[in-house]
Amino acid sequence: MGRINSNACNFRTNNSRRHNKPIVVNFDNAATSFPKPIGVKTAVMDVLTKYGGNTGRGGHNLAMMTSTMVYNSRQVVADFFGAESENVVFTCNCTHALNLAIKGMVGSSGHVIISSLEHNSVSRPVVALSKTGRVKYSIAKVYNDDERTLQSFKDLITHETKAIICTIASNVTGQILPYKEIGEICKAKNICFIADGAQACGVIPISLSDGINILCTAGHKGLYGTTGTGLLISDGRYDITPIMQGGTGSASLSLEQPSFLPDSLESGTINIVGVASIKAGIEFIKNKTIERISKHEHMLCNKFISNLSSDERVVIYRNSNVNYVPIVSFNIEGMKPEEVATYLNRNGFCLRAGFHCACLAHQSLETDYGTVRLAPSVFNTENEIMKITSVIKNINKKL
């Protein structure tokens, strides 16, 4: 994995060493990945210099060139996740995609099940729907044993259950839920499975063939696109009522929103720069392969854990029976997570501390002040892990 860094935008050299600024190491890639691959930077520049039209809004050369680029991006996403190109909806972020899916599919009545590890991007829309009084929800507890987790979902299904909405992997601990088995349950019970792939896509080979009806994910995390990008990918089985209406470039003489995807859910001009960046990010992943990326990031996480295993004050939120994406949540006894993150930041390491927008997950973990989260990307190195663990070991001595 020594050469895997060669495709990164060389932000450290350009921005840090040249200007004598401290070197910054990003371990907060679960929030947004940085640096980005060189191909992403090139794709963004191409849009700003070549693709100056609007997609689906005109027949002139600039519009058609841009439409072709956007369609090609849609096709790349579709192929990557086992979908049809017209069922790929470009959104602002994963939260936007989840709101479209949850509110658009569930509507104003029925029952849904979420997990006890959900990000607020799932729990808040669901709770908001429940405030209308006609949508009910249940929370399935996630255990360290997949069979118990599956049983907790099964036990909550009623004749009113419309959807199971859950994350594929927790953004706090990285725990991978038994999503394929949940998909099987949904299929057997004729329930829609809406999956949050924000932390899984790019490190797990996710496909709609895993039993997912609607996959929502970010474009700017494991897919290495720019911020302001997300994806809703449907298998087309369940109707999704738009929560926003407007110009789509199609059916312009109708006062009603088009009923077909992607137009029904893509009102207004989409983020064309971001769309190009997602395509370049996925092409980068396909070139490296998910297997290699995942292996590299897991190696970094394992090294981090093993380096700190002898320090009794370090609490790692992992269990030997559980599968994880490359995320490690930890705490240092006697210190609040934000204090740890501040100290690490002073030493050049960017990690997110606190509750990670995941109320339910931290309730499950019983973490009063949250955790500190290490989330490497493909561009982090073993040397960086050695340095951060050295800094963490010395925290106790210096404070």
């Binding site: 997609t55 689906g56 005109g58 027949g59 519009a63 058609m64 439409s67 072709t68 369609y71 849609r74 096709q75 049809e84 190109s85 017209e86 789509t248 470039g249 199609s250 059916a251 312009s252 003489l253 109708s254 088009p258 077909f260 992607p262 137009d263």
Partner: protein, 73 residues
Amino acid sequence: MSNNKSGAIAMPSVTYAMKAQKLLASKGYTCDIQRISGPSTKSCTYNIYVNENIDIVKKILSDNHIMIDSLES
């Protein structure tokens, strides 16, 4: 009944027009995409213009579940 004339197929949006164009290209059929606007289509949309037997093209699109708006010759 089959006919051999070329023609235009109105597609619901640019996404379907481009999907149709790629599919047809993979099967050896060439087509052009052109923007159209007017009351007959109730919209601004995109036609694909084919120089082949339009019935065959229509069947290819149908077999591959590609939505079309209407046929114009």
